[in-house]
Point group: C2
Chain length 503, copies 2
């Protein structure tokens, strides 16, 4: 069914005193009640709804939110908005679920991500998610480790373990970090269900609504979401070649932020590496202000040229750097095994919180990673993936240079997962994404990495998930899209750029 | 070092206008600064500190809390309170961690649990934790499943998966529940990092500070903690032979609680089974009031006689029952795999929250459990563990009857993990626990299962973790303790019962 014919702006009354979002919601509710829109029907993404009614995206979001509160539609993560089932509508009349829920910190990023991860057309190449290539997961090694050790392991290791983590893994991580120049002992380590959980626990233990946090802009979406959900206000340090310590110091004095969140090495999404010199200056400033720095370091083992500078944590002379690591990017995400490094007093407080969340993380994964580390298998694996990802980066860089250099600028990342590109044309990366979808390619528009919705020209391409042949095909599709879009008139863009008053 | 000689009430000045907890804190702080108490020294548990100074437990707790806020001591979960390291004291002068932390919902239960799980004397038999026996974990079956299927599984299954869970597992659980009379489809299931996470997510999504929740008293500690941490006020439905629907209805009308939390089958800690008739009446009442019931059902597969009545969820005629299940008790806890059953609108809202917490649960465990279910291995395993646990229950019941029947009353549980016992003597179960520790046996005093600290006479014994020989030994030690305690004068009890004003 083409839904758009049931939903258009001609039915809106501009003289109506109701807010626009409410008018749209009433229109849709009416069609649901009259069963013109059947239960289960997928409604247009917010972006398209906004276009259909020639309203702002915010208005579209508010219309859906109002319908959801009434139980007439529901939003499925990663898929879209659907007309509620008759049965659901009926059961809602008994238990009014939406009214029971606490407020959800919905923000534009959430909607963008939801659109992004929603089932793409068959054959689409996604360069969106920051994922290692499943073909490189060391499953054979894990199978061999499992078999060789399961018989020797006391089954009690698979019962309940301390919330702080599986002790042999905490020890193994402490050894690994100490060798990297981060002096660590077991009591400094909390193992996590993915490093995302570290951000979550920190937000629960350190942030109160209204607190300030400083973040680079752009930065990792998951961190923005968690800190905003805790009610924190984000102070943005704009990305540039050099870190602006002057601006940071102004923030520190003016707002007394609770923490600074940073990815110093192969930053997500920009790939930027903070120089040795900047790291030292940053630590000096942070020490002076007793500033807590949350250093997120998922990529530093994936370097394709010279070694990056040492972690901030290795330079930490005042005990204020909290370090987050993960095995998701270097081994595989399904392990859900990350870790946090900090002083025992912090580890203890975080563990008290983690008890409520999941008692402790999965032991099978922790046991497997322990053996992988203790039997010295990580260096060999890293050599393999580095070599492969470097080839992919070079192949993709050449292709981008050859086919897209007229339309975009991009960097050559020295490590990590991403190309950070900038459009030279007068179009936004969101608009490019819409067109790209038709050519069956997807990526993340720059807007997703900012706390303020901006119609920017940047976007992120992940070069590690697919092999070289697929990457070449993806660049060809991107090039085709860039050429098409430069030929089109872009009136609609001008329109969607304007900010509509929310009345 | 015998610390008690450095800490005693003779040093307190009763004419001093400072609160008692502050006087004690200053005394200890002084000894730390003069290094009479060295860094790393373990301080007495709160209970002992209270005895040393002849003050209430609350005063002792407040003294330690004050010292912790000053960074002079720190509390390690499951271990105790320690004098902070010089290095920690120094680093605290740079980043004042304790001042950065949000308030922690510390309550008497937390301290009791901390004492409980703290490293017991060597040779202690613990009947405290509700744990299956590691000797019965089906590790061989899991190894076989792992080997037979790893080669056939696309490695992408170990990458990122939807937050709602590994789809094949959600399907398998839906089939399993439907066969049990709970009609369920995949979209009704959220897989969890242990069913504890279901309680946590529900508290985040449904509870605002000040909301009321109804809980049986006594009930599962983890649920009490999570709901109280969310700022909820607990209305207690006292345990008795029959559920008091009159009291429940009074609560519903008077307080409009957000939810009722229940373990209808083989309740923790009492072992009680809610009758078929009571279940139907409860559902009728809940439906009339559109009350959300959270049904926690970890034990119903572990029945040692006739089948228990159907789950409340199977009777749910108004869509208001949220069902929690887990594989921790029937397979093993380290899987950290539980699940929640509810309407899609709730699953969706919970998944939005879970994204922040850990993105998704561990895939290796979810993949293993899927195969275990799909290859029909659960019924055989349940037959094995039921037979073994039934034998243990019977052996222990006989021994308790023979050796302890003069001092305690107890039930014969029809399923689950626990004996719920009541002292006939004029002593509290907390006092019994202190004496029992000397005979190297431990259990959970009844106080831990209540929201209000009461000096009650009940306690819980877990009969599934140890084999019959160990259980027999444990009953002998318990019997010895009961005889010893009945001979002692119990003056100290009278004292510790009084409520001291917190001035």
């Amino acid at each position: 069914m083409d839904i758009s014919k049931h939903l258009n702006s001609s039915e809106l009354d501009s003289s109506d005193k109701q807010p626009l979002y409410m008018q749209i919601a009433i229109l849709i509710a009416d069609k649901i009640r009259r069963q013109i829109l059947q239960p289960g029907t997928k409604l247009p993404p917010e972006r398209e709804l906004a276009e259909l009614f020639a309203v702002s995206r915010t208005t579209a979001i508010n219309a859906y939110r109002h319908l959801e509160q009434q139980g007439l539609v529901w939003t499925k993560v990663g898929s879209g908005t659907y007309v509620a089932q008759a049965r659901e509508v009926e059961s809602l009349s008994e238990v009014p679920w939406p009214q029971l829920f606490t407020a959800y910190p919905q923000n534009p990023i959430t909607s963008i991500l939801r659109d992004l991860v929603s089932t793409p057309a068959p054959g689409t190449i996604s360069l969106a998610a920051g994922m290692p290539d499943p073909a490189l997961y060391p499953m054979e090694t894990f199978t061999e480790l499992f078999n060789r050790n399961i018989g020797k392991t006391d089954p009690a290791h698979f019962g309940h373990i301390p919330t702080e983590g599986y002790t042999p893994l905490r020890k193994a991580i402490a050894v690994m970090l100490s060798e990297k120049g981060i002096p660590t002992s077991t009591e400094n380590i909390l193992t996590l269900t993915g490093s995302q959980q570290g951000l979550y626990l920190l937000s629960k233990v350190i942030l109160e609504p209204g607190d300030y946090v400083v973040m680079e802009a752009p930065t990792f979406i998951g961190a923005i979401q968690v800190f905003q959900a805790a009610g924190a206000r984000v102070l943005s340090l704009p990305y540039s070649e050099k870190l602006s310590l002057e601006l940071l110091e102004d923030f520190l004095i003016r707002y007394r932020p609770k923490l600074l969140y940073m990815i110093p090495t192969y930053q997500n999404p920009t790939g930027r590496v903070l120089s040795e010199h900047d790291r030292q200056d940053l630590i000096k400033l942070a020490k002076r202000h007793r500033l807590v720095i949350v250093e997120d370091d998922p990529y530093s083992d994936l370097c394709y040229g010279e070694q990056p500078p040492q972690a901030l944590k290795a330079l930490d002379s005042y005990g204020g750097v909290v370090y987050l690591g993960t095995f998701s990017k270097i081994l595989f995400p399904g392990l859900r095994t990350g870790y946090l490094v900090g002083p025992p007093i912090l580890i203890n407080r975080l563990a008290l919180e983690k008890q409520f969340v999941d008692l402790h993380s999965n032991n099978i994964a922790q046991w497997l990673v322990t053996m992988f580390l203790n039997e010295g298998m990580l260096p060999q694996h890293l050599t393999t993936v580095r070599r492969e990802y470097k080839k992919r980066r070079d192949t993709m860089a050449k292709a981008l240079q050859r086919l897209c250099a007229h339309q975009i600028e991009f960097n050559l990342p020295q490590g990590g997962f991403f190309f950070w590109c900038k459009l030279k044309q007068a179009v936004t990366s969101q608009r490019l994404l819409q067109e790209a979808a038709k050519n069956r390619i997807s990526f993340v528009p720059g807007e997703a990495f900012h706390t303020v919705p901006t119609h920017d020209k940047e976007f992120r391409l992940c070069f590690t998930t697919h092999n070289e042949a697929v990457l070449l095909e993806s660049v060809q599709r991107l090039s085709k899209t860039l050429i098409q879009i430069s030929k089109k008139t872009i009136d609609s863009d001008e329109q969607s750029c304007s900010i509509w008053p929310i009345i």
